[in-house]
């Protein structure tokens, strides 16, 4: 049985080590904040200029001038700081953000990532996606393994416009955990009861299974 969204989120949260500075992309990655393992202290970065982002505010705490990059009202934890957009992206490009967990549309065996636009559909713009993908020290993509119509989202080469090249270290899907490995994906973990055959069938590139995967 494939992982639920909550299981995917929990699996992504397990990638976070104590003391890390982490940026969580809009959508499903945002949920990772709620599944940080006990004992792990993480500092969340929001690219509009905030470190130490806390949870959504209580109703009485809402401040229109404390928002995240998705323009949602948030809070600032003790020890947090605010700064301008140039310094915020200096943090990203300069490799100061240890980990970015981003949504994806396609990931290639090279680690190329597409997650910002689909030709023929109205674009929303890339916002900070290209900076995060190109700049964070480690990029993990959290996405479904295949599109609703069955089209593969782990592919040999991107069919969609790239967000950044060779940037993805790991992809976490509903079927398991996959590392782009140059000319194939290496499956390092499988959801319970998901077979190699199912993964192979739903992947648009070669998948190799680590011996210990089971």
């Amino acid at each position: 049985m494939s992982w639920s969204q909550d299981q995917m989120v929990a699996r992504a949260a397990a990638e976070i080590a104590d003391g890390m500075y982490v940026n969580l992309g809009i959508g499903l990655p945002t949920e990772v904040a709620n599944r940080i393992p006990p004992g792990v202290t993480v500092t969340l970065h929001s690219e509009n200029g905030l470190l130490g982002m806390g949870p959504f505010p209580l109703d009485a705490e809402v401040d229109p001038q404390i928002i995240n990059a998705g323009k949602q009202t948030v809070t600032i934890l003790p020890g947090g700081s605010v700064f301008d957009s140039a310094l915020s992206f200096a943090m990203i490009r300069g490799g100061h953000i240890d980990l970015a967990i981003l949504g994806g549309l396609e990931v290639a065996v090279s680690g190329d990532l597409a997650n910002w636009t689909v030709p023929g559909k109205m674009t929303t713009g890339m916002g900070g996606a290209m900076d995060l993908a190109a700049g964070a020290r480690r990029v993990i993509v959290l996405q479904t393994h295949a599109a609703k119509n069955g089209a593969a989202k782990l592919v040999r080469t991107l069919s969609l416009p790239a967000t950044a090249l060779a940037c993805t270290s790991r992809v976490i899907t509903d079927l398991g955990v996959f590392d782009p490995a140059g000319d194939h994906f290496k499956c390092i973990e499988r959801a319970a009861n998901v077979t190699d055959d199912e993964i192979t069938a739903k992947t648009g590139a070669t998948v190799r299974f680590a011996p210990t995967v089971g």
Partner: protein, 238 residues
């Protein structure tokens, strides 16, 4: 310090500065940190054919979207156009040109404009449509794209506190692009929630030195619209 920066209101502060076809930088992020009175005054003035440089060009019909509604905008340079039906419609209709820039590249281009740099090499956008037509260079084994500085005729910025010398302090994430835009325009107008007395701000507490601010006025009761009001329940963790 430089005298006569203080004006009574947006109308006085923007007097003589607005003209058709000009380039305006605006420092807000979404609906946060916008110079609301300046936007209203630009709308009232009726200037057209504006080139807007801002991370968003308003959202949900508010902020800079007011200028879109008035068909005053010819061109937008921004990083994100989601949640902005006015822009989507005029972009699709071809009546507004949109250039998209990655958010960090946009911030850095504005900073470069204010800092007198001729351009910079950034890793962002290499191998993407953003790099098309631009120089891409291998530097010490990593590929970078050359991006150019941005300047404007006018910057409108919003701050929490200002003083008569134009020194500014911002509040929380309303900072964002505001201090950057202030550095990169021929004239910068600052709209502040509170105008304090000369010397009341400690030199260490000033976020943006007044040298970058040419005109300043106090505007109370900003709307500060919320784009997505997200809350957590009263008790328990998020």
């Amino acid at each position: 310090m430089a005298s006569n920066k203080v004006h009574a209101d947006a109308s006085a502060a923007l007097a003589g500065l607005l003209r058709d076809g000009m380039t305006i930088m605006a420092g807000g992020f979404g609906l946060s940190g916008n110079a609301e009175r300046c936007i209203d005054e630009i709308a009232r003035s009726g200037v057209r054919g504006l080139h807007i440089i801002s991370n968003n060009c308003g959202n949900q019909g508010q902020g800079l979207a007011i200028l879109l509604k008035g068909r005053q905008v010819a061109r937008v340079l921004c990083s994100f156009i989601g949640g902005n039906p006015d822009l989507a419609e005029q972009y699709a209709a071809g009546t507004v040109a949109v250039e998209l820039s990655p958010q960090g590249t946009l911030a850095e281009r504005i900073r470069a404009g204010g800092a007198g740099l001729g351009g910079f090499f950034t890793p962002t956008g290499v191998g993407t449509s953003v790099a098309e037509g631009k120089e891409v260079r291998d530097i010490d084994g990593k590929r970078y794209v050359l991006e150019k500085p941005l300047r404007a005729d006018l910057a409108i910025v919003r701050a929490a506190v200002g003083d008569p010398d134009g020194n500014l302090r911002f509040y929380r994430t309303a900072r964002a692009f505001n201090p950057l835009c202030a550095t990169a325009a021929r004239v910068t107008v600052a709209e502040v929630d509170h105008l304090c007395g000369k010397g009341e701000l400690d030199p260490d507490d000033i976020h943006l030195p007044g040298i970058f601010v040419h005109r300043i006025f106090e505007a109370k009761d900003h709307k500060n619209p919320i784009e997505f009001r997200t809350t957590r329940p009263t008790s328990g963790t998020p």
